[in-house]
Structures are given as C-alpha cells and as structure tokens.
C-alpha cells in the first residue's frame, strides 16, 4: 500500500488582482480542510467519510462559493447542488435545487445511503431533507452581502453581452489566459465550486463536489457539480472533482474521462489529468483535482489559478492558488 492522499479545491478561475487578504483567507481555509482530512485519514477513516467531512467544512465556511457564500440566481436566491461518489462499488448520490439545507453534500450522501435513488432535486430533495432530519435554515442564511453586490455587477455585465463568447474589455492587466469565464469578467465571476478527492489507507477512492452554481443563473439551472461523470466521479482507479465552466465540463464528461483514459489507454493519473484538460475542454475553462488508488494526487487547470491543496501520507502538504 502506498498510503493515503487527499486533494481539495475551492474553484478554478481566480481574479489575478484578488486582494491579498482574500488570498490569505482562502489559503487558511484550504489548509484547515487538509489538516482535517489528513487527521481523519491517519485515524483510518474511509475515503467517502473523509470527502464528506471536508466538503461540509468548505460548505460551512463563507469564503468559498458553496453552502453559505453560494453564488446567487438571477432572482437573488440560492440554489445549491452537490454530489458524492464512493469508488468502492461506484455508489453515488446527488442533489440539486436545495434552498434550505445547510450541508448539501451530506444530503447527497443520504440519497446514496438511505434512498433507493441516486439523485433528488428541488422540492423532492427538500422533502427528503426534512424526512431525514438534516439541519435546515432560512435561504437568507446562505446569501452574503458580497454576493448580492456581485449579482448586481453580473447583471450589468450580462446586459451588455448577449452572446457570452464576445470578449469584453479586460478589467485588469495581468496577462495570461482569458480574463472571462462563463460570460463574466473574471473580477465579477466567482469561483463556484468546492470539492475533495481522497484515497484512503486501504486504497479506496472517493470524491465529492458542492456548489451554489453560476452567478446570475436562471432558476432551475443545473450545472456539472451534481452530475456523475461530469463534475464528480470515482471508481477503483481514481477519484475526481471538477470546477469551472459547468457547461464545458458536462459536454466533455470531464471527471469520467480522466478515469476512462486511465482505464482504456493505460495512462497514469497526472498524464490522464493533463490529457483531459488539454484535449477535452476545447474553449471551455475548467480545473480538477484527482487522486489515484495508488496514492497519487494530481491537479490540472486551464484557467488563471485554482484554489487548491493536497496532502499525502508521505508528508507532502501544499496549498496554492496560481
């Protein structure tokens, strides 16, 4: 056995002029989550438990956009979604359209463990939440002042742009990469997703992803995060969690493709991740974290930055943005 490993992300596509204190806050949360996960892994906890625990922590913290701090719909409300997959048996659970559930990833887990289904959404998911007795709060709990301002800016930007492929003037001068994602300038675009991928001491992989979705999205819009094979995937070989332009991730079945090239083309983890980012996204902007059953970790992204971190049993511990 090569040992456990954990990777986390807080979204791909970062404003290069993000203020230092925001970067620090992000690094702190990522470090804290890694420590939480590493400690659980040292104690022998299973991968699927660890990913749930870590993503709960990310959801609860308002720094990233999931749970509290989620991006807002065009109506100014929050609709959250999440999925979790246990590579052991490829069991999975997903939820969409949550408006009161404090920890979407935990409801996704309950769908997997306590319902005959794999995916519940909107009123049905909310009803299931109440049957299961999970913690629920008012929708306003998830809404932050910062995101209310972001929504206003997003509406202004979108009202100028009809076709979101038309480039708009850059708002900052730090060159590399596109300064726009999902039709919004990077300074307005908020990274939308958090995720975690883990391989435990027994070589089992699991991953989970959670998000408030796209700023200014249409009500009822579902992105890649709850879709197995797109935003989340885990099997015997690896576990993956993606972030970025949801539509690009869906059409490229990004998470599944990392595993598919490992399985069908014999690629190792980093090679598979690099290949997927390079070959599968076309003009789409996205990033992902992955772990393999052999204890490896890998990142890949074609965006300007991705909030991320990883730790391994061998003692590697790294948090990065750029």
């Amino acid at each position: 056995m090569v040992g456990w490993a954990i990777a986390v992300h807080g979204g791909a596509g970062v404003d290069p002029s993000l203020p230092a204190e925001r970067q620090e806050a992000a690094r702190r949360v990522l470090s804290r989550c890694l420590a939480l996960g590493a400690s659980a892994l040292r104690a022998g906890r299973a991968a699927v438990d660890v990913v749930e625990m870590v993503v709960r922590d990310l959801e609860t913290d308002p720094v990233f956009n999931s749970g509290r701090g989620s991006a807002l719909t065009r109506d100014g409300t929050v609709e959250m979604e999440a999925s979790i997959m246990d590579g052991r048996g490829r069991r999975c659970g997903a939820v969409s359209g949550l408006t009161t559930v404090k920890n979407p990833v935990s409801l996704a887990r309950l769908v997997m463990d306590r319902s005959p289904h794999s995916y519940l959404a909107f009123d049905g998911a909310e009803e299931f939440a109440r049957q299961q007795g999970v913690e629920v709060v008012d929708n306003s709990y998830f809404v932050t002042d910062e995101n209310v301002s972001m929504l206003k800016l997003a509406k202004e930007a979108n009202s100028i742009l009809y076709d979101y492929r038309v480039p708009i003037p850059e708002t900052c001068s730090a060159g590399a990469g596109a300064m726009q994602m999902n039709g919004l300038p990077i300074s307005i675009y908020a990274p939308e997703t958090v995720g975690c991928a883990v391989v435990d001491a027994n070589g089992h992989c699991a991953s989970a992803t959670s998000t408030g979705g796209l700023m200014n999205k249409m009500c009822g819009r579902i992105g890649d995060s709850p879709l197995i094979g797109a935003g989340t995937y885990a099997c015997g070989a690896c576990a993956v969690s993606c972030t970025g332009e949801g539509e690009a991730i869906i059409r490229s079945t990004l998470a599944r493709d990392v595993a598919a090239v490992m399985e069908y083309k014999g690629m190792r983890l980093q090679e598979a991740v690099d290949w997927a980012i390079k070959e599968r996204l076309d003009e789409g902007k996205a990033g992902l974290i992955a772990v393999s059953g052999d204890g490896e970790v890998a990142f890949g992204f074609n965006t300007v930055g991705m909030f991320r971190g990883c730790a391994t049993e061998q003692g590697l511990m790294e948090v990065a943005i750029w």
């Binding site: 289904h117 299931f128 599944r256």
Partner: protein
Amino acid sequence: MGWAIALHGGAGDIPFSLPEERRAPREATLRHCLDLGVAALRANRPPLDVVELVVRELENSPCYNAGKGSVLTTAGTVEMEACIMDGNTNNCGAVSGLSTVVNAISLARLVMEKTPHIYLAFDGAEAFAREQGVEIMDPSHFITPENIERLKNAKEANRVQIDYTQPIKANSTNDQGDSQIGTVGCVAVDNHGNLASATSTGGLVNKMVGRIGDTPIIGSGTYANSFCAVSATGKGESIIRATVARDVAALMEYKGLSLKEAAAYVVEKVPKGNVGLVAVSANGEVTMPFNTTGMFRACATEEGYSEIAIWPVDSNGISEDSQK
C-alpha cells in the same frame, strides 16, 4: 457509410406472455416511428432534427413511458425528463421535473439552443417552457388509467417498480420485480457521419418526488460525439454509475473497439436485468444490445437492413418474436 437510425421504447422484464392487446399497439408505434425517422433521413434532415421528431412521436404515444403515458411518482404525479445531444458540436440540452410540457425533448432542445445553460429543471424549466411558448397541457393530460393501476400495484407491493408492463402481484415470489422498462430514445446518423441522440422518460413507477434518473445526465442515458450516438434505458441508478452512454463512445475512441464490441462490453458489465441501449456509429453501423428479458426496439440502415423486435433474436437470426 450511409444513414442509420435506431429507436427504443424501453428495456425490461417484458414477459413472453405479453398479451396481444398490449403488444400490438407498441409494435405499431415502433413501426410508425421508424418509418418517420427513415423518411426524414432520406429527405436529408439533420440527425438532430430526426431524433427530436421521432422522440416527440414516442412521447405522444400513450403506450410508452414518456410524455403522455409517463409512469407516476409516489405522489401520483408526472415528472418528465429528457435530453438531446448533437455529436458534431457536443452541444446538449436536458430538462427534468416537467409536469405540463407536452414534448420534453423539444424543451431540452430549446435549452440547448436558446440559453447559455445545458440543464433546467422543475419550476425553472416550467417557467422557461412558458417563456418559449411550447405546448403545455394540464398535468392530468399525461396520466393514463394504466399508470394509475401500476402505481397502485407498486404501492401494494411497496416497491419502486421499473417494469410496468405487468401488474405486480402482491404475493409474487418473483423478486425480480425490479425489471426495467422506462424510457424512449432515438439515435441517428446521416450519410456524412453526423450523429445525434435523444432520450425521454417519465422515470420509475412510484419514484420519490424529485428523483432524477439517467436520462437527462449527459454520459449516462444519453451521449453523442463524432464516434457514435447512444441512448440507454433500464435501471437509472445502474446506468448512472456505469456512465453507460459515454463509455460506449470512450471504448471506441480510447480502445479502438467497434460499435458492436463497445456496446456489448458496456451492457455486459452492468448487472443483468438492468440495461439496454441503442447506438449508431459515424460509419452507419447500428447495434441494440440489452441484458434484460427484452427491449422494445427498431432500427434501419440505408443498406436496407431493418428490424422491429421485443425479445432477443436467436442464434439463427430469427427473431423470437416471429416464432410466437
């Protein structure tokens, strides 16, 4: 090379004893839809148009589990979902949780073409339907007496029922009541190798309100790229974890398998009794494997091959259907 089309009305534990009055209308619908699809391909309609029009026709038929004739949730309501994908561009559209939209597949296409998104669901999807002015009906329009009966039987058996052609006897010893019929779909390729796939369903009998299956999940129930187009049917939860539709294409692309090999491999790996699919390749090949008792299906190719069947074709190439 040449055009090809395949369509299905669901895979499941379709009993050989299916009475004539339940079988004939289903076969007739398959025949009618196949004819429509073939005529459209011969008239050079793009595959994306062809799969949409065929699935619309299947949705409108009350004898299949999509549109009118959809099975009921545990609350006795209808929640429809659908998905369409264009193999050339990988553009796709999906909808879930519809209760008034007559043709879910057409709404999925509008999501693809008229919004920056791929997938809209429930209230948001219904609102979009009204914005787009698509045909809507009162929810009662979609509910048929057969489905009310099926729900009643399923509740009595206290089971989520996937096979709805047979009433479930409350004291049935057949624990394989989890047989699968649940979806309609169509895949098509023209003689330039353009591919498209479409799938539509009411889901599982007695499903929880808000339950989403494999149909609207790109890569699970529906997929198309430049290699092939796939539409799957069966137990949604099994299809999702096996990313069935994407895997057929991935095996062709990454391992160089042929369409038939890839499709057979994928179906075999899913637990028996859980899946069926129809697929066509850019070269005009067609395959319709399933690991259930049967699958309502039909296909045709430009070369002149055509088939309408329910049960497996035996080793002599003679459809067991024709032996009854």
